[in-house]
């Protein structure tokens, strides 16, 4: 038991060591929160650290011309959560919907949809890349997640991940490097209109450098944490709980 763990610790420390030399990067930037055993885990670390080394300068994902937009935008998986609270919000036009932002932030807050809309917006025409193989381009309008965290006074020094959970029972963890990216957006608009129910109304996440399953729909809450160990099966997200990659950059 002790041998694979020490080997894994050694293995996963290598990219972290390089990362610590760079400002704003921590071990979490290069290594998934829980590294799987065996060759698959080693490959996970290689894939994530290689990707992040290439992305250290936080370049923007490709933004496309308006002519490339898919309208109507395709819908996939859950298109209308049956959850009673969601159905009530849907009926009320999300008037009483509030997004709590809590955990390791200076001032925990709750934001209404109007308050989120009043924050400085960003519009980006980017490709949604589903891990199953499809991709479609949409014009997303929303607030950078980083800006929303600043509304809560910013994250504390102990913060390492942001956990987002949704009305359809999904949750995912994101390291602060992903959160800090200018295209990491809480989107309320798609193709010039309010975000449709089928695409995640009232608010969905855009992480343009990761596959579709990291781009959660139907957002319910945002929590800043120092560890993802206490959520779900402890792998850091619902998709990795079910055996998919936690880092979905490929």
């Amino acid at each position: 038991m002790s041998t694979p763990i020490s080997r894994r610790t050694w293995l996963t420390s290598l990219p972290a060591l390089g990362g610590l030399l760079l400002t704003g990067c921590t071990r979490e930037t290069f290594v998934p929160p829980r590294v799987r055993g065996g060759l698959i885990g080693a490959a996970d670390v290689l894939t994530m650290s290689t990707n992040r080394m290439l992305l250290l300068g936080q370049p923007l994902a490709r933004e496309y011309p308006r002519s490339a937009i898919a309208d109507p935008f395709p819908t996939w998986n859950q298109t209308n959560p049956g959850n009673a609270a969601y159905q009530r919000h849907l009926k009320e036009g999300f008037k009483n919907w509030r997004l709590p932002i809590n955990g390791l932030v200076a001032r925990p807050i709750e934001l209404s949809l109007d308050e989120i809309r009043s924050l400085p917006a960003r519009t980006q025409i980017t490709a949604h890349v589903c891990e199953q193989g499809w991709s479609a381009i949409g014009e997303w309008k929303g607030v950078p997640l980083q800006r929303v965290l600043e509304s809560a006074g910013g994250v504390t020094p102990a913060a390492r991940y942001v956990v987002i959970d949704t009305f359809d029972g999904w949750y995912e963890g994101y390291d602060l490097f992903e959160v800090a990216h200018p295209q990491t957006l809480l989107a309320y608009g798609l193709n010039g209109r309010d975000l449709p129910t089928g695409n995640g109304a009232p608010l969905r996440l855009r992480v343009e450098r990761q596959c579709g399953y990291k781009n959660l729909k139907f957002l319910r809450s945002i929590r800043v944490v120092d560890s993802l160990a206490g959520f779900g099966r402890g792998t850091g997200g619902i998709n990795s709980d079910f055996g998919f990659h936690w880092f979905a950059g490929v």
């Binding site: 060759l39 698959i40 490959a43 490339a68 898919a70 990761q210 998919f244």
Partner: protein, 233 residues
């Protein structure tokens, strides 16, 4: 044992070096995994498109349903979770093994001494003779003298230095992370969906290459050829 009694270790009688043999068999296992896992990933979305965009309902370049396997039946056969986990794991094995092979053989001058066709071998007459032998299933005589034929040399070099790099590039051109870092990957192949389509076509071509390769092994005498790829002689 005196050196003279060990002809087996004499370089001139060795058909394949340790490095070539070890990398070859790692590569066989890696490619088998890449193929099976890739097929699993494909079956869960059995359509191909051209350009940046492609989704169910968008005009497709290829639909498996047109060839008799419906979307749902393909989905039942494909397990993309298994497929993705193994494809992206074995891709690293394939890459590291390939780099070790190339690095070692550049260092040992294997490429220059044994795989680069000589000027004589590139003459029209020589190539014609080889082609004629090829279609009469007599290509084995090149293998029997422990040297690669011109056609063999050329196809291996194109495979290693052109085809495999293109497979890797069309693979990572589908990744949202790699394309954010290297946007040229999107332009190189005309979009993410084009890259996926080319990656699939490349897979079919690789399977055909392996089929021909195995036929060649059979034509040159399976026992002798496989033995030399295992024990070197």
């Amino acid at each position: 044992m005196p050196e003279t009694l060990r002809p087996a270790t004499d370089a001139s009688s060795t058909v394949h070096s340790y490095n070539v043999r070890i990398c070859h068999w790692i590569n066989v296992v890696a490619c088998a995994y890449l193929l099976v896992s890739g097929v699993h990933i494909f079956l869960d979305f059995p359509e191909l498109y051209w350009g940046h965009t492609g989704y169910r309902g968008y005009p497709a370049a290829f639909r498996l349903a047109d060839w008799g396997l419906s979307w749902d039946d393909a989905g039942k056969l494909g397990d993309r979770r298994w497929g993705r986990n193994y494809h992206f794991t074995v891709a690293w094995v394939f890459l590291i093994n390939g780099l070790a092979y190339i690095g070692w053989n550049l260092y040992s001058r294997h490429f220059r001494d044994r795989m680069l066709p000589t000027r004589d071998e590139l003459t029209g007459a020589h190539v014609r003779t080889e082609l004629r032998d090829q279609f009469r299933w007599r290509s084995g005589r090149h293998a029997s003298n422990g040297r690669y034929g011109t056609l063999q040399k050329t196809s291996y070099l194109v495979l290693i230095f052109v085809f495999v790099p293109l497979m890797i590039l069309t693979g990572i051109a589908q990744s949202p992370g790699f394309t954010a870092a290297i946007p040229a990957l999107l332009d190189m192949f005309g979009g993410r969906q084009s890259a996926r389509t080319l990656h699939t076509i490349g897979t079919v071509m690789l399977v055909l290459f392996v089929a021909v390769h195995v036929l060649e092994v059979a034509a040159a005498g399976s026992f002798k050829t496989v033995r030399s790829m295992i024990i070197g002689r």
